[in-house]
Amino acid sequence: MSILVLAEHDNTGLKEATLTTITAASQIGGDIDVLIAGDQCAGAAEAAAKISGVSRVRVADNACYKGLLAENTAALVVSLSSEYSHIMAPATTNGKNILPRVAASLDVSAFSDIIGVVSADTFKRTIYAGNAIATVQSEDTIKVITVRGTAFSLAEQNGSASIGAVTEAHDLGLSTFAGESVAKSDRVELTSAGIVISGGRGMQNSENFSMLEKVASKLGAAVGASRAAVDAGFVPNDMQVGQTGKIVAPDLYIAVGISGAIQHLAGMKDSKVIVAINKDPDAPIFQVADYGLVDDLFDAVPQLEQAL
């Protein structure tokens, strides 16, 4: 058995999601190769070579992989696929964009966002917004899988894999990268933060989110949001936590002015400790919270910041 992991990276370094995917791969067993596709991505390749358990790093460094365009990147992965029994990637927006395209090109099914490895062909994943966990078995020769980061620990980083270049460029000319607007933040990433404080519709506007920013600064936390807060334009889309946003499972999750809809819970209910601050004592969020504070957030949050 041999596994190819498509890495999530920013060209200079790796994202934590790559390390959790490698842990999932090592639970399947067999040799693990990591593919770094990108434009000027040598730094990421060097970082990948240090991950324990990795045999080989394969680098496809070409302008046609800028922005990890699905068509080009999937064609690249498909061109390497004959050597592998499993093709895996983190369940990030890149992984979700590229791997199903790889699977269909190989005429096999795909498994999205797995939370457990039962055996080399059997996996666990959530369905119905996390209200059920299905154990699913694949009959395909190549298994194509995306992995939920919060369900696996980080791989160690004391390895020394070899690095080899994949020189053939797969530029299909179907799409071009036209730019990106990246949310600027010096804060820890939402999906890897130990503490997350999220705001909902109760925050009322964009300016009030600075109250949460202040608390986050003191706690070294990341700031998240409900869909309602994103839809209302209080904060950008990359902060949405939930079934259709990001999945987080920090040690501490503080929900402020969030009612606790099923779709929001799906993104945070595996957090170790959940705190809810809401003025409505009947808000469903209190049913999953370890500690609830029934209070106006405009009183409680400044108090919290003061007390830290």
Binding site: G67, S112, A129, S175, E180, P236, Q287, V288, L293, A300
Partner: protein, 249 residues
């Protein structure tokens, strides 16, 4: 340009779904069903493209049981011109759905396929990407803005780091995200009109696609449920608990 919109019948997003007693599936007895919310967004976008003079015809398609006609009627009331139900009692996996859809795309000479980014029941987020691979077309997933000028599609995507812009060649497959638009409610006259719009039903077996599943579901379980904890009286009490009882700050 003809647009095909994929409309899936799923459980209503407000219903909490439970696992059945046998641990083989979820219990869908008497559960309210609805059009997948992301498909509603896809449908709205198609109607706007037709209103803008870019689309000439909108075909709404669903693959599922006879009851999925309800969701197709909703799509017709929103503005689709025709409906197609590819009937299958078994729920089919994304690869099979994509293969059936590819047949329809070829038959109907479609220029753009709009889908939801994700089914809220199976949470796969695969079908659009698979369809695009089978057709060899460009692919725009998680779209929050669709702009067609001449023969190119300028697309904005919601990605983990923020927003990404792509230029795609047409024909293309686009999957729609939450912020693309706000779907309209079908008006009563349009609901009445939709009853007379053509809706063709064809068995899935007629398309020459292998319908057998390569995925076996061995078991379906309930997740660990969280117990609700305690209500604390003050911020000070809260901080004390977090520090001393849990040691998380």
């Amino acid at each position: 340009m003809k647009i095909l919109v994929m409309v899936k019948r799923v459980t209503d997003p407000n219903v909490i779904i439970r696992v059945n007693a046998e641990n083989t599936s979820v219990d869908l007895n008497n559960v309210k069903m609805a059009i997948n919310p992301f498909c509603e967004i896809a449908m709205e976008e198609a109607v706007r493209l037709k209103e803008a003079g870019i689309a000439t015809e909108i075909i709404a398609m669903s693959i599922g049981p006879a009851q999925a006609q309800d969701q197709l009627r909703t799509a017709l009331a929103m503005g689709a011109d025709r409906g197609l139900l590819v009937e299958s009692e078994e729920s089919l996996e994304p690869l099979t759905v994509a293969k059936l859809t590819a047949k329809v795309v070829e038959e109907e000479q479609i220029g753009l396929v709009l889908l939801g980014k994700q089914s809220i029941d199976t949470d796969n987020s695969q079908t659009g990407q698979m369809l695009s691979a089978i057709l060899g077309w460009s692919q725009g997933t998680f779209a929050s803005k669709v702009d067609i000028v001449d023969n190119t599609l300028n697309l904005t995507r919601e990605v983990d780091s923020g927003l990404q812009s792509l230029t795609l060649t047409l024909p293309s497959v686009v999957t729609c995200d939450l912020r693309l638009n706000e779907p309209r409610f079908a008006s009563l006259p349009n609901i009445m009109k939709a009853k007379r719009k053509p809706l063709v039903i064809k068995p899935a077996a007629d398309y020459g696609v292998d319908l057998t599943s390569k995925i076996k579901t061995l078991k379906v379980e309930s997740p660990n449920t969280r117990q609700s904890g305690e209500i604390v009286g003050s911020v000070a009490a809260l901080l004390d608990k977090l520090k001393t009882e849990k040691g998380v700050i």
